[in-house]
C-alpha cells in the first residue's frame, strides 16, 4: 500500500494547520508508541501520560513500568509527575519485573472498572510481546471501552493488531528567556491507523495548566528560529509496517 500523500507531509507546514493528534488516539483499544531511539523513551512516557490526561477527568490511571526501563532511564519521579499536572491520587504505578508480568498487569487493569486508561512501558524486544498478546489486550480494552497505551523503547515498530502505531521523538522546545529550555515538546508521527486517519507528523508542547497538548507558540520576535519548530533531527524514514 503506498503511503498517502499526507504521510509525507511533515514538519511545520502540516503543524501549523492541524491541532493535536488526540483525535486519532481517542478510539478504545491498544495504541503503540515507539520511541525513535532509546534516548526518546522518557519523551514517549511523557507523551503517553499527556494523552491519558488530556481532555479526560484523568483519574484511575495505571502506569506499569518494566524494571529494565528503570535501569535505562531512571525511575519515575513523583515531583516530575506532579509537574506534568498529575495528582498523586489519580495515578497508580506498578513495577513489573518482566514483560510477561507487564502484560498480565495490563490485562488485570483493563478488567477493572475503576481504571480509565493504562500505560505500559516496555524496554527492548521480547517474545511475549507478540500478536496474541496484542489481540488479548485489544479485545479487553475494546470490551471495557478503555485505552491502553503501549510504550516501546529500544524496539523497532512491527506488525500488530493495535489501533494505531506511532513513532515518538523528543522535539526541541520553544526557548524561554535567556535561552532556557521551554515546555516539554514532542514530535509524534502516525505510522499506521486502523481506521484510516491520515498519516502525518505532529509537533506539540505539553501545557500543564490546560492539561492538554498545544501547538508550539507561534514564532515571535524572540530567540526562536523557524527551524526549532521541527523535530530536531528531522523525521527518519516512515515505516510501512502493519
Amino acid at each position: 500500500m503506498p503511503l498517502p500523500l499526507s504521510a509525507q507531509i511533515s514538519g511545520d507546514s502540516a503543524c501549523s494547520r492541524a491541532g493535536t493528534p488526540l483525535g486519532a488516539l481517542s478510539t478504545p483499544g491498544v495504541h503503540e508508541f515507539y520511541a525513535l531511539s532509546g534516548a526518546d523513551a522518557v519523551s514517549t512516557h511523557g507523551f503517553g501520560l499527556g494523552v491519558m490526561l488530556s481532555g479526560r477527568p484523568g483519574a484511575g490511571l495505571v502506569w506499569v513500568v518494566h524494571d529494565l526501563t528503570g535501569m535505562e532511564t531512571g525511575r519515575p519521579h513523583g515531583a516530575g509527575l506532579q509537574e506534568m499536572g498529575i495528582q498523586p491520587q489519580d495515578l497508580l504505578l506498578v513495577r513489573a519485573r518482566n514483560i510477561a508480568t507487564l502484560l498480565g498487569v495490563g490485562e488485570d487493569a483493563l478488567r477493572t472498572p475503576g481504571v480509565e486508561a493504562v500505560l505500559l512501558s516496555a524496554w527492548g524486544e521480547d517474545r511475549a510481546l507478540n500478536l496474541t498478546a496484542g489481540r488479548r489486550l485489544g479485545l479487553l480494552a475494546r470490551s471495557g471501552n478503555k485505552r491502553l497505551f503501549l510504550s516501546r523503547a529500544a524496539a523497532a515498530p512491527r506488525a500488530s493488531p493495535a489501533e494505531s502505531r506511532w513513532s515518538i521523538q523528543s522535539a526541541a522546545s520553544t526557548p524561554l528567556m535567556a535561552g532556557a529550555p521551554g515546555r516539554p515538546a514532542f514530535s509524534a508521527t502516525l505510522l499506521r491507523h486502523r481506521r484510516g486517519a491520515p498519516l502525518r507528523t505532529w509537533t506539540m508542547e505539553w501545557d500543564r495548566e490546560a492539561r492538554s497538548f498545544v501547538e508550539p507558540a507561534p514564532v515571535s520576535g524572540r530567540l526562536a528560529a523557524l527551524a526549532t519548530q521541527r523535530p530536531a533531527a528531522g523525521p527518519t524514514g516512515l515505516r510501512r509496517t502493519g
Binding site: 519521579h77 509527575l81 498523586p88 495515578l91 513489573a96 477493572t112 472498572p113 475503576g114 522546545s173
Partner: protein
C-alpha cells in the same frame, strides 16, 4: 536423667520414669545416684534447648486450639472450649494430643478439667486424665497439698499440721487459712477445686474468627487446597456477616503431617466478606510465592483465620448499580499486591524536602495520598522544573568545553556526545547538613541538547577546591 550444676555439685535436675522407679529423685548428687544405680545414664541439662522445644510444641499445638499458652516449667496449657468435637470428643482430643506427644518422643501427662489450675495440678501432682464435668471435686480433693505450689516453708507447715490433702484444707474455714498463709491462699485453693475459674492468657491473641478443616487423609493437590480454602472462606465470611464485620487481614495456616506449619497472610485494602475475591487473591498469592507451598506428605489440617476485622454493614446490592469505581480499583491493588508484593504497587506522595531523592516519596498503593496544590508563585507557562525520571544514584558524565561556574557546552553520557543547545541554571541545592554532615552543595542545570532531549545535570563541588568539581546526570525530562 539430666544433671545440672547446682550449689557447686552435680545434681540431678530431672529423672526419667525408669530412674524414678529405681528410687532416684531430683536434687540428689550425681555421685549418690551413681552409687545407688551404677548403670545410670547422665546427660547434661540444657534448659535453653528445652525452652526451644517447648516453643516449637507451642506453635505445633496451635492445631488443637488457638487458645494456647506456656505453662512453665515444661508445660503447655490449652483452652479447648468448643474444640473437642473436631477431634471426636474429649477422649479423641486427648488421644490426638497424646499421640502427637508420643511421636515427638516425649514423656508426658495430660489432664483435662474445667479450670486451668485444676488441670495443671492434676497433670503435675495427680495421675492426669479426663475429669468429667461435675465429678471433678472428689478427685481434686485427693490431690496432695503440694499441688497448691506454695513456698517450701508454708508447704512444710501444712504437712506438719497434718494437712496432707486438699480435702483437709477444703473442710476448714478459709478465713483462718488466709490469716496464716496469706490472702491469695483461698483463691489458689478455689481455683484448683474449680470454685473459681480464670481464663488463660494465650500465647498469641486468639483470632476473632477462624474455621478449621481436619483431614483423615492428608491432602496435597493444589486443586484440593484451593477448594478447602474456598470452603473455609465461605464459613468464616458467614460468621463475619452475622457479626456485621468484614475481614482486613486473613491468614491461612497449613499444618503438615510432619509438624511443619506454614502461615500465609493476606491483607486487603478495605474490609470484605466477598468469598470469591479473597479466594482469587489467595490463588494469586499461592501461585506467586517466593518459596512455594510445599505439602511434603500432605496437610492434615488447614485453618483460615481472620486476624483483623472491621465493621462492615450488610450492603443492599442492586442489579443495575455498577460497583463504586474506587472499590474496584482497591480490588486491583489488592490483587497486584498479592501477586507482585507491596513494593511493586505504588502511589507518589510529594512531601517537603528539597533534596530531589527525598522530595517525592513513593508510598504503598494502598495508601491514600493527599492532593497537592501547585506552588502559587509559578507561572502556568513555566516548564517542569523537575524531571519525569530520576536516576538514583546519579550517573557521572564526562563534560567538555565548560566555562567555570557555568554549564557544560558538551558532555558525554553512555558513550554518546550531547551538544548543549539551551540551558538554565544554576539552581543551588545544598545538602541536608542536619541529616549527614559534609554533603556537598549541588548546582543543578536544566539543559537541552541539539537533538531536543532534556537533561537535569548537576555539578558537585566548586572550582578552586582541592578536587575538581564532578558532573552528574540526575534525571531526564520529557
Amino acid at each position: 536423667m539430666l544433671v545440672e550444676k547446682i550449689k557447686g555439685a552435680l545434681r540431678l535436675s530431672a529423672v526419667s520414669p525408669d530412674a524414678a522407679r529405681q528410687g532416684l529423685e531430683p536434687g540428689l548428687t550425681l555421685a549418690d545416684a551413681r552409687a545407688r544405680v551404677p548403670a545410670v545414664r547422665a546427660v547434661p541439662a540444657l534448659p535453653d534447648a528445652d525452652d526451644r522445644l517447648l516453643g516449637e510444641l507451642l506453635t505445633d499445638f496451635d492445631r488443637f486450639s488457638p487458645m494456647i499458652a506456656l505453662d512453665l516449667p515444661h508445660g503447655l496449657i490449652l483452652d479447648v472450649t468448643g474444640c473437642a468435637h473436631l477431634f471426636g470428643g474429649e477422649v479423641g482430643l486427648m488421644q490426638a494430643v497424646q499421640d502427637r506427644l508420643a511421636r515427638a518422643g516425649l514423656h508426658h501427662r495430660c489432664a483435662l478439667t474445667s479450670t486451668p489450675q485444676a488441670a495443671r495440678a492434676l497433670a503435675r501432682f495427680g495421675l492426669g486424665g479426663i475429669l468429667p464435668c461435675g465429678a471433678e471435686r472428689p478427685v481434686l480433693r485427693r490431690l496432695p497439698v503440694r499441688a497448691l505450689e506454695l513456698e517450701e516453708r508454708d508447704d512444710l507447715a501444712l504437712r506438719r499440721a497434718g494437712l496432707k490433702r486438699l480435702a483437709d484444707l477444703d473442710d476448714r474455714p478459709r478465713a483462718s487459712l488466709a490469716a496464716r498463709f496469706g490472702a491469695d491462699f483461698p483463691a489458689r485453693l478455689a481455683r484448683i477445686l474449680g470454685d473459681e475459674d480464670i481464663r488463660i492468657t494465650p500465647h498469641r491473641p486468639p483470632p476473632p474468627v477462624y474455621a478449621d478443616r481436619l483431614f483423615f487423609d492428608p491432602i496435597s493437590l493444589d486443586a484440593d487446597v484451593q477448594a478447602v480454602l474456598a470452603d473455609l472462606l465461605q464459613e468464616t465470611t458467614a460468621r463475619l456477616e452475622e457479626a456485621r464485620l468484614g475481614g482486613r487481614v486473613f491468614e491461612a495456616i497449613f499444618y503438615r503431617t510432619d509438624g511443619k506449619i506454614r502461615r500465609i497472610g493476606l491483607s486487603v485494602a478495605r474490609a470484605t466478606r466477598n468469598v470469591s475475591s479473597v479466594a482469587r487473591l489467595y490463588r494469586e498469592r499461592l501461585a506467586h510465592l517466593d518459596h512455594p507451598l510445599d505439602p511434603g506428605f500432605g496437610f492434615d489440617q488447614i485453618r483460615m483465620v481472620v486476624r483483623q476485622v472491621e465493621a462492615l454493614l450488610p450492603l443492599q446490592s442492586s442489579l443495575e448499580d455498577a460497583p463504586d469505581a474506587s472499590v474496584r480499583l482497591d480490588e486491583l491493588v489488592d490483587q497486584l499486591v498479592a501477586r507482585l508484593g507491596p513494593e511493586a504497587v505504588l502511589r507518589f506522595q510529594p512531601h517537603g524536602s528539597h533534596i530531589p531523592e527525598r522530595s517525592a516519596g513513593w508510598i504503598s498503593g494502598r495508601g491514600t495520598p493527599t492532593p497537592v496544590e501547585p506552588p502559587s508563585d509559578r507561572d502556568p507557562e513555566d516548564p517542569p522544573l523537575r524531571p519525569l525520571h530520576l536516576f538514583n544514584p546519579p550517573q557521572p558524565v564526562e563534560t567538555m568545553a565548560e566555562a567555570p561556574d557555568g554549564h557544560p557546552f558538551r558532555f558525554r553520557w553512555r558513550r554518546q556526545v550531547h551538544n548543549v543547545a539551551r540551558a538554565e541554571g544554576p539552581e543551588r541545592i545544598a545538602g541536608e547538613w542536619w541529616r549527614a554532615p559534609g554533603q556537598k552543595t549541588r548546582d543543578y542545570y536544566r539543559v537541552e541538547d541539539t537533538q531536543g532531549h532534556r537533561f537535569w545535570l548537576f555539578r558537585q563541588g566548586a572550582y578552586g577546591e582541592d578536587s575538581p568539581p564532578r558532573w552528574f546526570i540526575h534525571g531526564l525530562f520529557a
